[in-house]
Symmetry: C2
Subunit: 228 residues, 2 copies
Protein backbone atom coordinates (compact mmCIF):
# COMPACT_ATOMS: atom_id res chain seq x y z
CA UNK A 1 0.00 0.00 0.00
CA UNK A 2 2.76 2.45 1.02
CA UNK A 3 6.26 2.10 -0.47
CA UNK A 4 9.09 4.52 0.35
CA UNK A 5 12.49 4.12 -1.33
CA UNK A 6 15.56 6.25 -0.69
CA UNK A 7 13.48 9.03 0.87
CA UNK A 8 15.45 12.06 2.03
CA UNK A 9 14.21 15.38 3.39
CA UNK A 10 16.49 18.36 3.86
CA UNK A 11 15.58 21.74 5.27
CA UNK A 12 17.59 24.81 4.41
CA UNK A 13 17.93 27.54 7.04
CA UNK A 14 20.09 30.32 5.67
CA UNK A 15 23.52 28.73 5.18
CA UNK A 16 22.73 25.66 7.25
CA UNK A 17 21.17 22.43 5.97
CA UNK A 18 19.24 20.13 8.31
CA UNK A 19 19.15 16.50 7.11
CA UNK A 20 15.86 15.52 8.73
CA UNK A 21 15.55 12.20 6.83
CA UNK A 22 18.38 10.25 5.18
CA UNK A 23 17.69 7.43 2.75
CA UNK A 24 14.56 5.90 4.29
CA UNK A 25 13.13 2.65 2.89
CA UNK A 26 9.75 1.58 4.25
CA UNK A 27 7.01 -0.83 3.22
CA UNK A 28 3.51 -0.72 4.73
CA UNK A 29 1.04 -3.43 3.69
CA UNK A 30 -2.73 -3.10 3.97
CA UNK A 31 -3.84 -4.05 7.46
CA UNK A 32 -0.43 -3.33 9.05
CA UNK A 33 -0.26 -1.62 12.43
CA UNK A 34 3.16 0.00 12.69
CA UNK A 35 4.71 2.15 15.43
CA UNK A 36 7.56 4.60 14.78
CA UNK A 37 9.79 5.47 17.74
CA UNK A 38 12.90 7.56 18.18
CA UNK A 39 14.40 10.51 20.08
CA UNK A 40 13.05 14.04 19.87
CA UNK A 41 14.15 15.54 16.55
CA UNK A 42 14.96 12.21 14.89
CA UNK A 43 12.57 12.80 11.96
CA UNK A 44 9.38 10.96 12.98
CA UNK A 45 6.92 13.78 12.20
CA UNK A 46 8.79 14.59 8.99
CA UNK A 47 8.42 10.96 7.90
CA UNK A 48 4.72 10.82 8.82
CA UNK A 49 4.01 14.08 6.96
CA UNK A 50 5.60 12.64 3.81
CA UNK A 51 3.59 9.41 4.13
CA UNK A 52 0.45 11.54 4.59
CA UNK A 53 1.23 13.60 1.47
CA UNK A 54 1.47 16.79 3.54
CA UNK A 55 5.09 17.27 2.54
CA UNK A 56 7.21 16.19 -0.42
CA UNK A 57 10.61 14.51 0.00
CA UNK A 58 13.78 16.20 -1.27
CA UNK A 59 14.59 12.99 -3.13
CA UNK A 60 13.46 9.38 -3.30
CA UNK A 61 10.39 7.49 -4.46
CA UNK A 62 6.97 7.27 -2.81
CA UNK A 63 4.35 4.90 -4.20
CA UNK A 64 0.87 4.98 -2.70
CA UNK A 65 -1.40 2.14 -3.83
CA UNK A 66 0.94 1.62 -6.78
CA UNK A 67 0.91 5.27 -7.96
CA UNK A 68 3.98 7.52 -7.92
CA UNK A 69 2.92 10.30 -5.55
CA UNK A 70 5.26 12.97 -7.01
CA UNK A 71 3.38 12.65 -10.32
CA UNK A 72 0.10 13.65 -8.68
CA UNK A 73 -1.19 17.22 -8.64
CA UNK A 74 -1.78 19.09 -5.39
CA UNK A 75 -5.54 18.86 -5.79
CA UNK A 76 -5.36 15.12 -6.48
CA UNK A 77 -3.22 14.69 -3.35
CA UNK A 78 -5.71 16.69 -1.31
CA UNK A 79 -8.50 14.45 -2.56
CA UNK A 80 -6.57 11.27 -1.63
CA UNK A 81 -5.86 12.68 1.83
CA UNK A 82 -9.48 13.60 2.36
CA UNK A 83 -10.94 10.26 1.31
CA UNK A 84 -8.40 7.67 2.42
CA UNK A 85 -6.18 9.12 5.13
CA UNK A 86 -7.10 10.16 8.65
CA UNK A 87 -4.29 12.27 10.13
CA UNK A 88 -3.83 13.00 13.84
CA UNK A 89 -1.37 15.89 14.15
CA UNK A 90 1.18 16.20 16.95
CA UNK A 91 -0.22 19.67 17.70
CA UNK A 92 -3.83 18.73 16.88
CA UNK A 93 -4.53 21.65 14.48
CA UNK A 94 -8.16 22.10 15.52
CA UNK A 95 -9.92 25.22 14.18
CA UNK A 96 -10.26 27.60 17.13
CA UNK A 97 -13.62 29.09 16.13
CA UNK A 98 -15.42 25.78 15.63
CA UNK A 99 -16.69 23.62 18.46
CA UNK A 100 -15.58 20.00 18.86
CA UNK A 101 -18.38 18.52 16.77
CA UNK A 102 -17.91 21.04 13.92
CA UNK A 103 -14.18 20.28 13.94
CA UNK A 104 -14.89 16.56 13.63
CA UNK A 105 -17.34 17.16 10.77
CA UNK A 106 -15.02 19.37 8.72
CA UNK A 107 -13.39 16.59 6.60
CA UNK A 108 -16.85 15.12 5.99
CA UNK A 109 -18.10 18.50 4.71
CA UNK A 110 -15.19 18.60 2.25
CA UNK A 111 -16.20 15.16 1.07
CA UNK A 112 -19.72 16.40 0.31
CA UNK A 113 -21.44 14.27 2.95
CA UNK A 114 -25.02 15.28 3.83
CA UNK A 115 -25.82 16.93 7.17
CA UNK A 116 -27.70 14.07 8.81
CA UNK A 117 -25.02 11.47 8.06
CA UNK A 118 -22.30 13.93 9.20
CA UNK A 119 -24.01 14.53 12.56
CA UNK A 120 -24.41 10.79 13.05
CA UNK A 121 -20.78 9.98 12.26
CA UNK A 122 -19.31 12.91 14.23
CA UNK A 123 -21.37 12.06 17.31
CA UNK A 124 -20.38 8.39 17.08
CA UNK A 125 -16.69 9.36 16.80
CA UNK A 126 -16.92 11.72 19.79
CA UNK A 127 -18.71 9.07 21.83
CA UNK A 128 -15.99 6.54 21.01
CA UNK A 129 -13.36 8.83 22.55
CA UNK A 130 -15.58 9.71 25.54
CA UNK A 131 -16.30 13.32 24.54
CA UNK A 132 -19.95 13.48 23.50
CA UNK A 133 -20.58 15.74 26.50
CA UNK A 134 -17.94 18.20 25.27
CA UNK A 135 -19.17 18.44 21.66
CA UNK A 136 -20.18 22.10 22.01
CA UNK A 137 -16.89 23.23 23.54
CA UNK A 138 -14.42 25.10 21.38
CA UNK A 139 -10.75 24.05 21.60
CA UNK A 140 -9.92 26.82 24.10
CA UNK A 141 -12.66 25.39 26.34
CA UNK A 142 -11.17 21.91 26.30
CA UNK A 143 -8.30 20.36 28.24
CA UNK A 144 -5.14 19.30 26.38
CA UNK A 145 -6.14 15.65 26.38
CA UNK A 146 -9.67 16.52 25.27
CA UNK A 147 -8.29 18.47 22.29
CA UNK A 148 -6.16 15.46 21.39
CA UNK A 149 -9.16 13.16 21.55
CA UNK A 150 -11.18 15.52 19.31
CA UNK A 151 -8.30 15.36 16.80
CA UNK A 152 -8.48 11.55 16.96
CA UNK A 153 -12.27 11.58 16.52
CA UNK A 154 -11.87 13.85 13.48
CA UNK A 155 -9.42 11.38 11.90
CA UNK A 156 -11.70 8.39 12.57
CA UNK A 157 -15.10 9.88 11.71
CA UNK A 158 -14.74 9.51 7.94
CA UNK A 159 -13.76 5.82 8.24
CA UNK A 160 -10.51 6.21 6.28
CA UNK A 161 -8.42 3.35 4.90
CA UNK A 162 -5.27 4.57 6.68
CA UNK A 163 -4.74 6.30 10.01
CA UNK A 164 -1.51 8.29 10.45
CA UNK A 165 -1.22 9.36 14.08
CA UNK A 166 1.57 11.56 15.44
CA UNK A 167 1.84 10.91 19.21
CA UNK A 168 -1.92 10.14 19.54
CA UNK A 169 -1.70 9.57 23.30
CA UNK A 170 0.94 12.21 24.13
CA UNK A 171 -1.48 14.36 26.14
CA UNK A 172 -3.46 11.51 27.70
CA UNK A 173 -3.34 9.76 31.08
CA UNK A 174 -2.63 6.03 30.86
CA UNK A 175 -6.27 4.93 31.00
CA UNK A 176 -7.37 7.31 28.22
CA UNK A 177 -4.32 6.20 26.22
CA UNK A 178 -5.31 2.55 26.60
CA UNK A 179 -8.85 3.36 25.47
CA UNK A 180 -7.50 4.91 22.27
CA UNK A 181 -5.22 1.91 21.63
CA UNK A 182 -8.20 -0.42 22.15
CA UNK A 183 -10.10 1.52 19.45
CA UNK A 184 -7.10 1.37 17.08
CA UNK A 185 -6.61 -2.36 17.65
CA UNK A 186 -10.29 -3.14 17.15
CA UNK A 187 -10.50 -1.17 13.89
CA UNK A 188 -7.26 -2.78 12.69
CA UNK A 189 -8.39 -6.35 13.47
CA UNK A 190 -12.09 -6.06 12.53
CA UNK A 191 -11.95 -3.65 9.60
CA UNK A 192 -8.39 -4.02 8.36
CA UNK A 193 -7.64 -0.35 9.06
CA UNK A 194 -3.96 0.34 8.27
CA UNK A 195 -2.30 2.29 11.08
CA UNK A 196 1.06 4.06 11.25
CA UNK A 197 1.58 5.81 14.58
CA UNK A 198 4.47 7.81 15.98
CA UNK A 199 4.88 7.37 19.71
CA UNK A 200 7.62 7.77 22.27
CA UNK A 201 5.88 5.40 24.75
CA UNK A 202 6.89 1.75 24.58
CA UNK A 203 3.65 0.32 25.94
CA UNK A 204 1.72 2.28 23.31
CA UNK A 205 4.10 1.15 20.55
CA UNK A 206 3.60 -2.50 21.52
CA UNK A 207 -0.07 -2.45 20.43
CA UNK A 208 1.12 -2.68 16.81
CA UNK A 209 2.66 -5.50 14.75
CA UNK A 210 6.11 -3.96 14.46
CA UNK A 211 8.19 -1.04 15.72
CA UNK A 212 10.44 1.06 13.49
CA UNK A 213 13.24 2.91 15.28
CA UNK A 214 14.51 6.22 13.85
CA UNK A 215 17.78 7.85 14.92
CA UNK A 216 19.10 11.09 13.40
CA UNK A 217 16.90 10.78 10.34
CA UNK A 218 17.88 7.18 9.60
CA UNK A 219 16.11 3.86 10.02
CA UNK A 220 18.06 2.31 12.84
CA UNK A 221 16.18 -0.98 13.13
CA UNK A 222 12.85 -2.75 12.61
CA UNK A 223 11.46 -4.87 15.41
CA UNK A 224 8.68 -7.42 14.89
CA UNK A 225 6.31 -7.82 17.85
CA UNK A 226 4.77 -11.15 18.85
CA UNK A 227 1.10 -11.07 19.60
CA UNK A 228 -1.15 -13.76 21.02
CA UNK B 1 4.85 29.67 50.04
CA UNK B 2 1.63 28.65 48.23
CA UNK B 3 -1.59 28.15 50.19
CA UNK B 4 -4.90 27.24 48.51
CA UNK B 5 -8.06 26.90 50.60
CA UNK B 6 -11.50 25.91 49.34
CA UNK B 7 -10.55 26.75 45.74
CA UNK B 8 -13.31 26.21 43.18
CA UNK B 9 -13.38 27.05 39.49
CA UNK B 10 -16.53 26.90 37.44
CA UNK B 11 -16.90 27.59 33.74
CA UNK B 12 -20.22 28.64 32.28
CA UNK B 13 -21.07 27.52 28.76
CA UNK B 14 -24.53 28.81 27.85
CA UNK B 15 -26.86 27.02 30.25
CA UNK B 16 -24.30 24.46 31.33
CA UNK B 17 -21.85 24.82 34.20
CA UNK B 18 -18.59 22.87 34.27
CA UNK B 19 -17.19 22.36 37.78
CA UNK B 20 -13.53 22.14 36.84
CA UNK B 21 -12.26 22.40 40.46
CA UNK B 22 -14.23 21.66 43.62
CA UNK B 23 -13.01 22.71 47.03
CA UNK B 24 -9.25 22.25 46.61
CA UNK B 25 -6.92 22.66 49.61
CA UNK B 26 -3.20 22.61 48.86
CA UNK B 27 -0.02 23.65 50.67
CA UNK B 28 3.31 24.04 48.88
CA UNK B 29 6.38 24.84 51.01
CA UNK B 30 9.55 26.43 49.64
CA UNK B 31 11.79 23.73 48.19
CA UNK B 32 8.94 21.28 47.60
CA UNK B 33 8.87 19.21 44.40
CA UNK B 34 5.26 18.17 43.83
CA UNK B 35 3.66 16.21 40.99
CA UNK B 36 -0.06 16.47 40.12
CA UNK B 37 -1.61 13.48 38.35
CA UNK B 38 -5.11 12.62 37.21
CA UNK B 39 -7.23 11.67 34.20
CA UNK B 40 -7.69 13.89 31.17
CA UNK B 41 -10.14 16.67 32.08
CA UNK B 42 -9.76 16.25 35.84
CA UNK B 43 -8.70 19.89 36.41
CA UNK B 44 -4.88 19.73 36.50
CA UNK B 45 -4.20 22.60 34.07
CA UNK B 46 -6.97 24.67 35.66
CA UNK B 47 -5.31 24.19 39.08
CA UNK B 48 -1.84 25.03 37.75
CA UNK B 49 -3.12 28.17 36.00
CA UNK B 50 -4.65 29.39 39.28
CA UNK B 51 -1.41 28.69 41.18
CA UNK B 52 0.47 30.57 38.45
CA UNK B 53 -1.89 33.60 38.73
CA UNK B 54 -2.98 33.14 35.10
CA UNK B 55 -6.56 32.53 36.17
CA UNK B 56 -8.65 33.51 39.20
CA UNK B 57 -10.73 30.98 41.15
CA UNK B 58 -14.53 31.27 41.29
CA UNK B 59 -14.24 31.09 45.08
CA UNK B 60 -11.73 30.21 47.77
CA UNK B 61 -8.54 31.73 49.14
CA UNK B 62 -5.08 31.83 47.54
CA UNK B 63 -2.12 33.10 49.55
CA UNK B 64 1.22 33.49 47.79
CA UNK B 65 4.16 34.21 50.12
CA UNK B 66 1.62 35.31 52.73
CA UNK B 67 -0.24 37.79 50.49
CA UNK B 68 -3.87 37.32 49.44
CA UNK B 69 -3.61 37.06 45.65
CA UNK B 70 -7.17 38.28 44.91
CA UNK B 71 -6.25 41.61 46.53
CA UNK B 72 -3.45 42.18 44.00
CA UNK B 73 -3.91 44.21 40.83
CA UNK B 74 -3.42 42.63 37.39
CA UNK B 75 -0.16 44.53 36.86
CA UNK B 76 1.15 43.44 40.27
CA UNK B 77 0.27 39.84 39.43
CA UNK B 78 2.04 40.14 36.06
CA UNK B 79 5.12 41.45 37.84
CA UNK B 80 5.10 38.54 40.36
CA UNK B 81 4.71 36.05 37.50
CA UNK B 82 7.56 37.61 35.57
CA UNK B 83 10.03 37.70 38.46
CA UNK B 84 9.26 34.64 40.54
CA UNK B 85 7.39 32.10 38.45
CA UNK B 86 8.60 30.14 35.43
CA UNK B 87 5.61 28.58 33.63
CA UNK B 88 5.81 25.73 31.13
CA UNK B 89 2.48 25.59 29.25
CA UNK B 90 0.86 22.36 28.10
CA UNK B 91 0.71 23.83 24.58
CA UNK B 92 4.05 25.69 24.87
CA UNK B 93 2.77 29.13 23.71
CA UNK B 94 5.94 30.08 21.87
CA UNK B 95 5.75 33.22 19.72
CA UNK B 96 5.72 32.01 16.09
CA UNK B 97 7.71 34.91 14.62
CA UNK B 98 10.59 34.72 17.09
CA UNK B 99 13.35 32.13 16.92
CA UNK B 100 14.09 29.83 19.87
CA UNK B 101 16.64 32.13 21.48
CA UNK B 102 14.42 35.21 21.19
CA UNK B 103 11.53 33.25 22.71
CA UNK B 104 13.72 32.25 25.66
CA UNK B 105 14.86 35.88 26.14
CA UNK B 106 11.38 37.39 26.10
CA UNK B 107 10.65 37.20 29.88
CA UNK B 108 14.15 38.61 30.53
CA UNK B 109 13.42 41.58 28.24
CA UNK B 110 10.26 42.29 30.24
CA UNK B 111 12.35 42.25 33.39
CA UNK B 112 14.62 44.91 31.95
CA UNK B 113 17.71 42.70 31.76
CA UNK B 114 20.58 44.00 29.59
CA UNK B 115 21.37 42.39 26.23
CA UNK B 116 24.67 40.75 27.11
CA UNK B 117 23.31 39.06 30.26
CA UNK B 118 20.16 37.98 28.35
CA UNK B 119 22.21 36.29 25.61
CA UNK B 120 24.34 34.54 28.20
CA UNK B 121 21.37 33.23 30.19
CA UNK B 122 19.30 32.23 27.14
CA UNK B 123 22.21 30.34 25.59
CA UNK B 124 22.91 28.55 28.89
CA UNK B 125 19.24 27.55 29.18
CA UNK B 126 19.14 26.26 25.60
CA UNK B 127 22.37 24.33 26.14
CA UNK B 128 20.94 22.73 29.28
CA UNK B 129 18.04 21.28 27.25
CA UNK B 130 20.31 20.27 24.36
CA UNK B 131 19.08 22.87 21.86
CA UNK B 132 21.90 25.38 21.40
CA UNK B 133 22.19 24.20 17.78
CA UNK B 134 18.51 25.04 17.15
CA UNK B 135 18.58 28.55 18.66
CA UNK B 136 17.90 30.23 15.29
CA UNK B 137 14.94 28.03 14.37
CA UNK B 138 11.44 29.45 14.70
CA UNK B 139 8.81 27.19 16.31
CA UNK B 140 7.50 25.99 12.94
CA UNK B 141 11.04 24.84 12.16
CA UNK B 142 11.29 22.76 15.32
CA UNK B 143 10.00 19.30 16.20
CA UNK B 144 7.28 18.95 18.86
CA UNK B 145 9.75 17.89 21.50
CA UNK B 146 12.13 20.69 20.56
CA UNK B 147 9.34 23.25 20.99
CA UNK B 148 8.60 21.78 24.40
CA UNK B 149 12.26 22.03 25.40
CA UNK B 150 12.39 25.67 24.27
CA UNK B 151 9.35 26.33 26.49
CA UNK B 152 11.24 24.70 29.39
CA UNK B 153 14.38 26.75 28.67
CA UNK B 154 12.27 29.92 28.63
CA UNK B 155 10.86 29.06 32.08
CA UNK B 156 14.32 28.31 33.53
CA UNK B 157 16.39 31.11 31.97
CA UNK B 158 15.32 33.80 34.45
CA UNK B 159 16.15 31.61 37.46
CA UNK B 160 12.69 31.88 39.02
CA UNK B 161 11.82 30.86 42.59
CA UNK B 162 9.01 28.57 41.43
CA UNK B 163 8.62 26.39 38.33
CA UNK B 164 5.06 25.45 37.31
CA UNK B 165 5.25 22.88 34.54
CA UNK B 166 2.20 21.48 32.71
CA UNK B 167 3.20 18.09 31.23
CA UNK B 168 6.85 19.18 30.71
CA UNK B 169 7.85 15.84 29.15
CA UNK B 170 4.63 15.11 27.24
CA UNK B 171 6.25 15.48 23.82
CA UNK B 172 9.61 13.93 24.74
CA UNK B 173 11.12 10.48 24.28
CA UNK B 174 12.09 8.78 27.56
CA UNK B 175 15.76 9.83 27.46
CA UNK B 176 14.96 13.51 26.83
CA UNK B 177 12.31 13.29 29.57
CA UNK B 178 14.88 11.90 32.02
CA UNK B 179 17.29 14.71 31.10
CA UNK B 180 14.66 17.30 31.98
CA UNK B 181 13.86 15.57 35.28
CA UNK B 182 17.59 15.50 36.11
CA UNK B 183 17.69 19.28 35.59
CA UNK B 184 14.58 19.78 37.76
CA UNK B 185 15.97 17.57 40.54
CA UNK B 186 19.36 19.27 40.51
CA UNK B 187 17.85 22.77 40.69
CA UNK B 188 15.48 21.62 43.44
CA UNK B 189 18.22 20.04 45.58
CA UNK B 190 21.05 22.52 44.93
CA UNK B 191 19.12 25.81 44.68
CA UNK B 192 15.92 25.05 46.54
CA UNK B 193 13.83 25.69 43.42
CA UNK B 194 10.16 24.97 44.24
CA UNK B 195 8.55 22.81 41.53
CA UNK B 196 4.91 21.93 40.87
CA UNK B 197 4.52 19.78 37.77
CA UNK B 198 1.49 18.21 36.12
CA UNK B 199 2.25 14.89 34.52
CA UNK B 200 0.37 11.80 33.47
CA UNK B 201 3.52 9.63 33.54
CA UNK B 202 4.23 7.79 36.82
CA UNK B 203 8.00 7.56 36.39
CA UNK B 204 8.14 11.31 35.79
CA UNK B 205 5.90 11.99 38.82
CA UNK B 206 8.19 9.92 41.05
CA UNK B 207 11.05 12.42 40.70
CA UNK B 208 9.23 14.69 43.18
CA UNK B 209 8.64 14.48 46.94
CA UNK B 210 4.91 13.83 46.73
CA UNK B 211 2.14 13.11 44.24
CA UNK B 212 -1.29 14.76 44.36
CA UNK B 213 -4.06 12.87 42.60
CA UNK B 214 -6.99 14.79 41.07
CA UNK B 215 -10.25 13.18 40.01
CA UNK B 216 -13.20 15.15 38.59
CA UNK B 217 -11.93 18.43 39.98
CA UNK B 218 -11.36 17.08 43.49
CA UNK B 219 -8.27 16.18 45.47
CA UNK B 220 -8.56 12.42 45.64
CA UNK B 221 -5.41 11.66 47.63
CA UNK B 222 -1.88 12.82 48.47
CA UNK B 223 0.96 10.33 48.27
CA UNK B 224 4.36 10.92 49.90
CA UNK B 225 7.30 9.43 47.99
CA UNK B 226 10.35 7.94 49.70
CA UNK B 227 13.68 9.02 48.33
CA UNK B 228 17.17 7.76 49.13
N1 LIG C 1 -12.88 27.71 29.08
C1 LIG C 1 -13.54 26.58 29.43
N2 LIG C 1 -14.90 26.54 29.34
C2 LIG C 1 -15.58 25.41 29.68
N3 LIG C 1 -15.01 24.30 30.14
C3 LIG C 1 -13.65 24.27 30.23
C4 LIG C 1 -12.85 25.40 29.89
N4 LIG C 1 -11.54 25.08 30.07
C5 LIG C 1 -11.54 23.81 30.53
N5 LIG C 1 -12.79 23.32 30.62
C6 LIG C 1 -13.19 22.00 31.10
O1 LIG C 1 -12.70 21.86 32.44
C7 LIG C 1 -12.22 20.53 32.65
C8 LIG C 1 -10.82 20.58 33.25
O2 LIG C 1 -9.91 21.09 32.31
P1 LIG C 1 -8.33 21.02 32.53
O3 LIG C 1 -7.70 21.66 31.35
O4 LIG C 1 -7.97 21.59 33.86
O5 LIG C 1 -8.07 19.44 32.57
P2 LIG C 1 -6.69 18.63 32.69
O6 LIG C 1 -6.74 17.82 33.92
O7 LIG C 1 -5.53 19.56 32.52
O8 LIG C 1 -6.78 17.64 31.46
P3 LIG C 1 -5.63 17.09 30.45
O9 LIG C 1 -4.90 16.02 31.19
O10 LIG C 1 -6.47 16.54 29.32
O11 LIG C 1 -4.77 18.23 30.03
C9 LIG C 1 -12.26 19.82 31.30
O12 LIG C 1 -13.27 18.83 31.32
C10 LIG C 1 -12.57 20.90 30.28
O13 LIG C 1 -13.49 20.47 29.28
N1 LIG D 1 10.88 23.70 8.72
C1 LIG D 1 12.04 23.25 9.27
N2 LIG D 1 13.20 23.90 9.02
C2 LIG D 1 14.36 23.47 9.56
N3 LIG D 1 14.49 22.40 10.35
C3 LIG D 1 13.36 21.71 10.64
C4 LIG D 1 12.08 22.10 10.13
N4 LIG D 1 11.15 21.24 10.61
C5 LIG D 1 11.81 20.35 11.38
N5 LIG D 1 13.14 20.63 11.40
C6 LIG D 1 14.19 19.87 12.08
O1 LIG D 1 14.15 18.54 11.58
C7 LIG D 1 14.38 17.61 12.64
C8 LIG D 1 13.31 16.52 12.62
O2 LIG D 1 12.06 17.09 12.95
P1 LIG D 1 10.79 16.17 13.29
O3 LIG D 1 9.67 17.10 13.61
O4 LIG D 1 10.56 15.19 12.19
O5 LIG D 1 11.28 15.38 14.59
P2 LIG D 1 10.47 14.34 15.52
O6 LIG D 1 11.19 13.05 15.47
O7 LIG D 1 9.02 14.35 15.16
O8 LIG D 1 10.67 14.96 16.95
P3 LIG D 1 9.68 15.03 18.24
O9 LIG D 1 9.71 13.67 18.86
O10 LIG D 1 10.34 16.06 19.08
O11 LIG D 1 8.33 15.44 17.76
C9 LIG D 1 14.38 18.41 13.95
O12 LIG D 1 15.69 18.42 14.47
C10 LIG D 1 13.93 19.79 13.57
O13 LIG D 1 14.66 20.82 14.23
MG1 LIG E 1 7.31 15.01 16.12
MG1 LIG F 1 -4.11 19.81 31.05
Amino acid sequence: LIKLQGITRQYRLGQVQVDALKNIDLLVEEGDFISIMGPSGSGKSTLLNIIGCLDRPTSGIYELAGERVEKLSDSKLADIRNRFIGFVFQSFHLLPDLDAQANVELPLIYRGMGGRERHRKSLAALEAVGLAKRRNHRPSQLSGGEQQRVAIARALAGEPAVILADEPTGALDSQSGRNIMAIFQRLNREQGLTIVQVTHEENIARHGHKVIHLLDGQLEKEEALDHP
